[in-house]
């Protein structure tokens, strides 16, 4: 079975023979055309003479460590083709994203399987190799005979990842399309993992990913990215795309991101946004970054004082998207002034007709929008809070600070 594998380092330099067994040249590179097949080697590039020649996959009879036998000699000179993903030029030694391990890795070698079909052998990309074993192969290949290298390498543990879990990086948008680079793998990741990956990439690659990825995923990931990098990503994007992403972000996070930008850029982005998120973000931008107003989240659930548990349950159904992180409900009087805070968990053991007021936590804690961050962290610590309501100068509920904000704040110190 072992013979059925072929490494890219072995493929390179393999002699290519014509029908009469004469040597035509050496393999210099191999390419897949992702639009046609995601893993089959489509072309072999042949060097040795003045120009490189192209061998199509259907012109090959057999492939082994002893060389490649052709069954068709009509070879064409190689012309650079944007649809080709060339193994040596585009993959070897470059960075790719490991979708399963959720990190950026560097390709040291590629493992193919040789598939024996009736009318000739085909190569399929199996794995991308990144470990010490592939390093050894790279260093030893060409110095020691291929078969000896294979025997020696078994003492080193292999380290590779499946080709289908890899996402290649391509900064040029035109070429991304031609190479059929999809963001599916990235979009399935947890936003925090995606954010970590993005931080490891070069600015061009970051831009390419955010330019093409789904706006909702982009917004979630961007919220998790380091503020400085956040700013440089937003600045590099087309204003329209940046606005799309910022709209999808939670208003307080959007405001934080925009506050990092050059004033003109942030105004341009605001200009492109829909009116509703725009006003919300603009209001938040007025607050100092380290005040309660700058920290608070404006996505909260507030109910009238007279509401019952049943009514609260109904209200929550409307705000389904917030349930993942919501932990406190607020009660306000007809003027919007805060009167009570109710821990969400209390709802589950109370009867449907119970007025929410009876479940409220005592004492009612609240801070002014101007309150300083040190005082806020102190209150969270002292009362073991999960959320703290913020009110404006008239006592109206303006937003809420959640524990995760406080954790981020403390970690930055």
């Amino acid at each position: 079975m072992a013979d059925e594998l072929l490494f890219l380092t072995e493929l390179l330099g393999l002699k290519v023979y014509d029908l009469k067994g004469r040597r035509l040249g050496f393999v210099k590179d191999a390419a897949i055309v992702p639009l046609i097949h995601p893993s089959r080697v489509d072309r072999y590039l042949l060097g040795g003479g003045w120009a490189w020649l192209t061998v199509r996959h259907d012109q090959v009879r057999s492939i082994s460590l002893d060389g490649i036998q052709l069954k068709d000699e009509l070879l064409t000179p190689y012309h650079s083709d944007e649809y080709m993903l060339r193994m040596v030029r585009d993959l070897l030694d470059q960075q790719i994203i490991d979708g399963k391990g959720r990190k950026v890795v560097r390709v040291t070698d590629v493992t193919f399987t040789i598939q024996h079909a009736e009318d000739g052998d085909l190569l399929h990309i199996d794995d991308v190799d990144i470990g010490l074993r592939s390093m050894f192969r790279r260093l030893a290949q060409g110095v020691l005979p291929r078969r000896l290298v294979r025997r020696l390498q078994v003492v080193i543990p292999p380290h590779s990842l499946r080709w289908e879990h890899c996402s290649i990086l391509e900064a040029d948008p035109q070429r991304r399309l031609r190479l059929n680079v999809s963001n599916e793998i990235l979009e399935r990741m947890h936003p925090a993992d995606l954010a970590d990956i993005v931080e490891d990439l070069s600015p061009d690659d970051r831009e390419a990913i955010f330019e093409t990825i789904d706006s909702e995923v982009a917004a979630e990931a961007l919220s998790e990215v380091d503020p400085e990098i956040q700013a440089s990503i937003l600045e590099s994007l087309e204003t329209e795309k940046a606005a799309d992403i910022v709209e999808e972000m939670a208003p307080h996070e959007a405001a934080d991101a925009l506050a990092e930008l050059e004033e003109q850029t942030s105004e341009d982005i605001l200009e492109e946004m829909e009116p509703e998120p725009k006003t919300e973000v603009e209001e938040l931008l007025e607050f100092a970054e380290n005040s309660a107003g700058g920290l608070m989240n404006t996505e909260y659930v507030a109910l009238p004082e007279s509401a019952t548990v049943g009514e609260a349950m109904e209200a929550l159904k409307v705000h389904e998207e917030m349930l993942g992180t919501l932990n406190t409900l607020f009660l306000v009087d007809p003027d919007g002034r805060l009167t009570a805070a109710v821990p969400l968990a209390k709802l589950f053991i109370a009867a449907g007709a119970t007025p929410l007021k009876e479940l409220a936590s005592e004492p009612l804690l609240q801070v002014d929008v101007e309150e300083k961050e040190d005082r806020i962290t102190e209150i969270f610590d002292k009362y073991n809070l999960l959320a703290l309501p913020v009110v404006d100068e008239t006592g109206k509920l303006a937003g809420a600070i959640t524990a995760d904000e406080v954790i981020s704040l403390l970690r930055q110190k």
Binding site: K103, V105, M135, L201, S202, E263
Partner: protein
């Protein structure tokens, strides 16, 4: 208008860092002692090298920061992507070996700075090695970085001392611009070491990564360039005053090799009884600072180039190569110092020579990378830049070959002759040069060991 101005200051402050930190790390134990040795042994003669060194330093560091800002990738990443596995591998081996001698040099600096106070190296080095390891691995290094940086102002003492010692300014001025070249093993070794310590190869990798990590892009690169240039000039101003102080305080009373930290501390003698304290504090700070940064930077460089997981935010099992290599560098680097009778100062100086030998190799790759349109777009080098870089490469290779040929010539000489020379005290050989012009005396010496005895 005011807002605009404030914004620009904010940008400038946010990019202050990489260039100035690098400049300060540049004057590490290797730097201080190499310059001291240059001044103590050759007086004002080596001053002329500072202008070309500054120029070359600016050119290399500017190239690195430009590459970092434009590509957003580290130098070893770029070498790997553009030149492949094998080149990267051998370059990394060379870099690790060179940097290893530099790590030894930093610990030697720590040991010798504290031995001035009669604290044994068997106590100081293990403690400091453990401190370095913990500071870096626990990730608390960032928080103490500012302390180191502040302590770097200790270099000002050299500038003050340089004036108080009343050196021969006329001679200093003349030799600052008059190049003196001698085919003399000690002198050539000294030249290579001076270039190697000012433009250490590891510094280029460090600077480029720092620029990338700071998120500096081609857009706000202009401020970075200013900072890099200011940093380079500062480095060499300090170097100038170290040489001048040593020339006035030591060389003027007869050329001498620096053998212990106490010798080098003489340059600060206007500070009286505080001279030792000041010198030792400066040397200790510089050495400890670099002992943190150097192994860390080396491991980052190697892991990035070879594609291993890296980062102090990773756990040990997530990035085993990273942590093992770091631990090895620190433990072995400190361990070598504990070898009985290990020649501390000699080791420091020779590590700088190795730097100088590796430098042209790194420089060649840098120039090739920065001229690639596919990487740098409109930011490739101008012809003048390339000219400076290539001339430096040729000169450095020339100096290395000259050193090698002298060494080989001496090795092939009859063993008896060189032994005989060996036994002569260095001071005696120098007894004839009172005017400071005849520096051909130690041609007969063997090996580079005579740099310091």
């Amino acid at each position: 208008m005011l807002k605009r101005f404030r914004y620009q200051i904010a940008i400038f402050l946010s990019v202050v860092g990489p260039g100035l930190i690098t400049a300060n790390v540049d004057n590490d134990s290797g730097g201080i002692l190499t310059y001291s040795q240059a001044g103590a042994k050759y007086g004002y003669l080596p001053l002329w090298t500072l202008i070309p060194i500054t120029l070359l330093l600016i050119v290399t560091q500017e190239m690195c920061s430009r590459m970092g800002a434009v590509t957003g990738k580290g130098l070893s990443d770029l070498i790997r992507e553009e030149f492949g596995m094998r080149t990267t591998f051998f370059l990394m081996i060379a870099l690790v070996l060179t940097n290893f001698t530099n790590v030894i040099a930093e610990f030697a600096g720590i040991a010798s700075s504290l031995e001035v106070f009669n604290i044994s190296r068997y106590i100081t080095v293990p403690i400091c090695a453990a401190a370095v390891w913990l500071l870096v691995v626990r990730g608390s290094y960032r928080s103490v970085e500012k302390v180191f940086l502040a302590a770097c102002t200790l270099y000002v003492t050299y500038i003050v001392s340089g004036f108080l010692l009343k050196p021969d300014w006329k001679e200093a001025a003349i030799y600052s611009v008059r190049p003196i070249l001698m085919f003399d093993e000690g002198y050539i070794t000294m030249l290579i070491a001076m270039v190697g310590t000012s433009i250490a190869p590891w510094m280029q990798f460090y600077l480029q990564s720092a620029i990338v990590e700071k998120g500096i892009t081609a857009k706000d690169y202009v401020q970075s360039r200013i900072e890099v240039i200011v940093g380079c000039i500062l480095t060499d101003v300090v170097a100038f005053f170290i040489i001048v102080s040593c020339a006035a305080a030591i060389w003027a009373h007869g050329p001498k090799d620096i053998e212990t930290a106490k010798d080098a501390a003489l340059a600060l003698k206007p500070f009286g009884k505080y001279a030792y304290v000041l010198f030792s504090a400066g040397l200790f700070n510089a050495s400890f600072f670099a002992a943190c940064i150097l192994p860390l930077s080396t491991v980052y460089t190697v892991c990035e180039g070879l594609g291993f997981e890296s980062g102090v935010d990773k756990r040990f099992h997530e990035a085993p190569e990273f942590y093992w290599l770091f631990t090895l560098l620190v433990v072995l680097g400190a361990g070598v110092i504990l070898w009985p009778n290990f020649p501390l100062i000699k080791m420091i100086l020779w590590s700088q020579v190795l730097n100088g030998v590796l430098l042209p190799v790194i420089l060649i790759y840098m120039v090739m990378l920065i001229n690639r349109k596919s990487l740098m777009k409109e930011w490739t080098n101008s012809h003048a830049y390339n000219a400076v870089a290539w001339i430096s490469v040729v000169i450095m290779i020339g100096l290395t070959l000259a050193l090698a040929s002298i060494t080989v010539k001496q090795l092939t000489q009859p063993a008896g002759a060189s032994l005989e020379n060996d036994s002569k005290p260095v001071a005696q050989m120098k007894s004839d040069d009172s005017g400071g012009h005849s520096f051909k005396s130690n041609l007969g010496e063997s090996g580079g060991a005579h740099l310091v005895r």
